[in-house]
Symmetry: C2
Subunit: 564 residues, 2 copies
Amino acid sequence: MPTNLSVSESDLHSLACMLLDRIECAFEAALDRAAILCARDGRLDGRRLDDNQGLCYELALIRADLLAAQTIVGAVANASAIDAALGLAFAADTITGLFGKLEAIYFECGLDTCELQALATGENVRRLRNEAGGMAALAKLGKLVADADGEIADVVLDEPTAMARDAFRRFAGDVVAPLAEKIHRHDLTVPESLLQPMREMGVFGLSIPEEYEGHAPGGRENTPMMIAVTEALSEASLAAAGSLITRPEILARALMAGGTEQQKAHWLPRIAAGNPLCAIAITEPDYGSDVASLALKGKRTEGGWLLTGAKTWCTFAGKAGLLMVVTRTNPDKAAGHRGLSLLLVEKPSHDGHEFICEQQGGGSLRGRAIPTIGYRGMHSFDLVFEDYFVPDANVVGGETGLGQGFYLTMAGMVGGRIQTSGRALGVMRAALTAAIRYAKDRKVFHAPLIDFQLTQIKIARMAARFAACRYLAYAVGRQIDEGAGRMEASLVKLFACRSAESVTREAQQIHGGMGYAEETAVSRYFVDARVLSIFEGAEETLALKVIAKSLLEDALSHINARGA
Amino acid sequence: MPTNLSVSESDLHSLACMLLDRIECAFEAALDRAAILCARDGRLDGRRLDDNQGLCYELALIRADLLAAQTIVGAVANASAIDAALGLAFAADTITGLFGKLEAIYFECGLDTCELQALATGENVRRLRNEAGGMAALAKLGKLVADADGEIADVVLDEPTAMARDAFRRFAGDVVAPLAEKIHRHDLTVPESLLQPMREMGVFGLSIPEEYEGHAPGGRENTPMMIAVTEALSEASLAAAGSLITRPEILARALMAGGTEQQKAHWLPRIAAGNPLCAIAITEPDYGSDVASLALKGKRTEGGWLLTGAKTWCTFAGKAGLLMVVTRTNPDKAAGHRGLSLLLVEKPSHDGHEFICEQQGGGSLRGRAIPTIGYRGMHSFDLVFEDYFVPDANVVGGETGLGQGFYLTMAGMVGGRIQTSGRALGVMRAALTAAIRYAKDRKVFHAPLIDFQLTQIKIARMAARFAACRYLAYAVGRQIDEGAGRMEASLVKLFACRSAESVTREAQQIHGGMGYAEETAVSRYFVDARVLSIFEGAEETLALKVIAKSLLEDALSHINARGA
C-alpha cells in the first residue's frame, strides 16, 4: 500500500485503477469497431475516415481523458497527500463523464452497451464518486489547495530540472511578470531586457545537445527540462516568455533529424545562443493544416533558390534572424508532401509590426504583424516572398534533404506540441493561483469568497484538471526522450490546451467583474489560453489526423494480427 | 400529428417528450430531497443552503438544460422542418447529458438511482440518440443549417415584432456593423451617428408604455419586442448597439414599479427618447453581487441628499445624463437591504474615458472607464461620489420610496436579465453565420470546410444550442409580460450566456488561426460573449441566489402542503 494514502484512500485508489482498467477495455472494444468501420481491405481508408470524422474526434477526446486519468492515478500513489486526493477527484469526475461519452460512441458504432452500463451503474462508481468526487470531498480539497496557495501537482523532477525550474520561476516572477501586462496591452515586441537574460540563461538551447553548445546533457534531448522551463516562463507570460522556446525547439529538432553535419555545427550553437532568434514559416493563407498542399515555391537559380509566395501566422518573424520556411522545391504538384523542403532563410532582425527586407539581387520579403486578441509580444506575421534568394547551403539536409521538408517538419512538430502543453501548464497555474489569491482577499456576504463551498469546489476542479495535465505532460515528455510518444505529444497538447481554456474561464468567474478588466492579469490568461487550441496544430486536426488515425492504425494492426 | 414532421420524426418527437417528462419527474424527486437537505423547520435555512452550494449550483444548471429542451421540443411541433430537427438534436444531446448530471445529483443526495438508470439505459434513449443525435443525423442537419445560411430558429413573432426585428436587423447590418470593429479595436465611445438613429427608431423606449411616449402598446410591456430588437442590434455589435437597451430597460421597469406619478410623467418620456441616456450604478468595489451590503451613503441635507462613496462597473456612466444610483439612505447598517433607496443622479454627458462633474455647492462625481477585453463602446466606469447633491424629487417613489431601493432594483433586474439573453442570442447568431460563411469559403484538403463531417456536426450543435436559447428566451419573454417568469429570466440569462461562450468558441475553431485575429469579427464575438456570464448577475449568483432558491422554495412549499 502506498504510504502517503490513508486506508480508505488506498482503497479508493485501487478502485479507481480497477475502473480505469475496465474502461480501457471498453474503449478498446469501441476502437476495434471504429477501425473496422474506417478500413477497407484491412487498411484505413481516407474516404471512410472522412465519413466518420465525428466518431474519430470523440475517440480522440475520450483517449485524452482516459490517458490523463490513468496517468495521474498511476503517478500519485507516490506523491503528496494533496496530489493523491486531486488524482482521485479527477478520476472520479472523469470516469463519470467517460461513461456518457463511451455510451454515445457505442451507440454510434452499434455496439451493445449492456456491460458498459452494468459497470457505470455499479456500486464502485457510486463509491468513488461520493468519496472522491462528491461536493463535500471537493470542497475540502479546494480548501487544501487554497491553503497550499496552489502549489500542487508536484511531479517528480530530476535535480537539474528542479533547479532550472526554480531559477526560471524566480526570473519569471521578478523580471517577466512586471512587464507582462504592458507588453500585452500595448502590443509591444518582447524587449531585449527580457531576451538578453533569457539568452544568458540558455532558454534557446534547451533541447540542443551539449556537443552543439546547447543544454541537453549527454547528447540527448531533455524534454522534461524543456517543459519545466516553458511552464515557469509561461506562468508569467505566455507571449513574452514561455513561447520563445517553441521556435528554436521545432527548428533544432528538424535540424537534428535532417540537417547535414555542417548545418548542425553551424546553426545549432547559434540557435542555442539565441543569436539569431528563429521563426517557423509553414502555414499559408490558403492552406491551414493541410501541409501537403503548401504552395510557396522555390525556383532553382545559380547557387541557390528563389522563393516566391506567401506564408501566414509566422510568429516572431520580425525579430527573428532565421526563418525555417517550408518550401515547394519540386514544381510537380502531384508530388504533394514529397515536393516540400526546408529552407533556412536569413534576414535582418526588425522590431515593430511591419518590415521589408530587400536583397541586392532584387528579391524581397515583406512582413506585417496580424493583430490578435491575445498572445501578444512576439507578433504573428503575414509574409510575402518575392524572388527571395536562399543559398544551397541553407537547404536543410543539402541536396538529399530536398523533398524531406514534410518529414522534418513533423519531427520538429512533436517538440512544438509537447512544448505547447508546457505553455498551457504555465497559463493554468497562473490562473489557478490568481483565483486563489482573489478568493482569499475578496469578501462577499461578510466572508472571504474562499469560505464558500462553490468557490472551494471550483478551485478543487481547476486544480485537479491542472494536476492531471501536469502529470500527463511530464510523463509524455519522458516518453519522447525515449524515442516514443509521438501521438501522445498531440494528445497532451489537445488535452492541456482545452483544459487551459476551462481553467482560465473559471478563474475569471471567481474574479467576477474584475476578471474581465484588462488591469487584472486573469483576463490576459483567458485570451492567451484561447490561442492554444488553435495554433501548433488545431485541436480538430490533431484529433483527426494524428490521434484518431494513430489509435485506429494500432487497433487495425492488432485486428489484422489476430486474423492472420 | 404535427404536419411539419415526417412519421418517424413525429415518433421521435413523442419519444423526446416522454423522456423529458420522465426526466422532469426524476429531477423533481432530487429537488424534493435537496429542499429537505437545505431546510430547517420547514423553511430554507441560510447555513444549510451554504453547505449545499455545489448541489444547488448543479440543480440550477440541470433545470436550465431541462427547461430549454422542454421548451424547444414543445415549440417545434409547429415550426419549420429544420427547427423540428434542431429541437430533436438538442433534446438528444441534452437528455444524454442530463442522465449523467442527474445521476451525480442523486449520488450527492443519497437517492436510489435504479429507476433513473433503467430510464437512461432504455431502448428509447438509444433510438432518440441515434436517429436525432447521431453523427450522421447531425452532419445532415449541419448541412441543412449551412444551406439556410443559419437563418433558423424561426420563433413565431406577432406582426409588429417581426417588422421591428426586420427593420432593426437591416439597420444593424447597414449602419452598425461597418463601425463595430473600429469601435471595439480603438475602444471608442458609441458615436452619435449610431445613437441618433437609434433614438429615432425608439430603441430606448421599447418597454415604456405608449402613455409615457414609449413603444410598448396598450399600456403594457412588450418583452418579445424588446428581445427581438436587442437580438437584431447585438448581431452587429454587442457593445455599440445591443447593450444600449439594457439600462433604460432596468431604469424604466424600476420607475414603473415604484416611481411617483410625477416621476413617471417626467422621466419616462425622456428615457424613451434617449435624452438623457441612462446608466445604472449598483455594484461597489467591495461588494459585487451582495446588494444588501452596499455602502454608498446618502446623507440628508436641505432639499435633498448628499451622496458619498464609490460605485464600479457602471456601464455608459460617461455618456449618460441620468444615473440610477442604489444608495444607502438609512445609516443603520442593520437595516441591510431595507436601508437602500434609488436616487436619480443627473449629470452632464461626457465622451471619453474620464470625467469630473463638479457642483456649485462643492459636490463632485468622478468617473474612469475600466479597460476591458471586450464589450467596448459604452465603457464601464469606476465612480467616486463626494457630497454629490441630489434633490428630494429624484428619490424614486418620493418619501415612501425610501428603503425600497432593493425591491425596485430587483424589479428592474428581471428586465435586464431577459434583455441580456437577447444580447446573447444576437452574438450567437453572428458567430453561427460567420462560421457558416467561412466554412463555405475556406478550402482545406481540396474541398470547402463545410463539406467535412466534423464541420457539419459542429455547425449542427451550435445551431441546435442557439435555437434552444432562442425558443426559451421568447417563451420566457411572454411569461414576463403575463407577470410571471421572474426566476425563468435568470435561468434563460444563465443558459443563453453560457451557450454564447461555447458557440463563439466553436465558431473560432472553425475559423482556425483567423478566428484569433482582431480583423476577423468572430474574435470580437468571442471576447464580447465572455462578459455575458459575468455581468447582469454573475452566473454563480443567479444559480444559487435566484434559481436554486426559487426551485427549492417551490419544492418545499409542495412538501409542506403535502405534509399539512
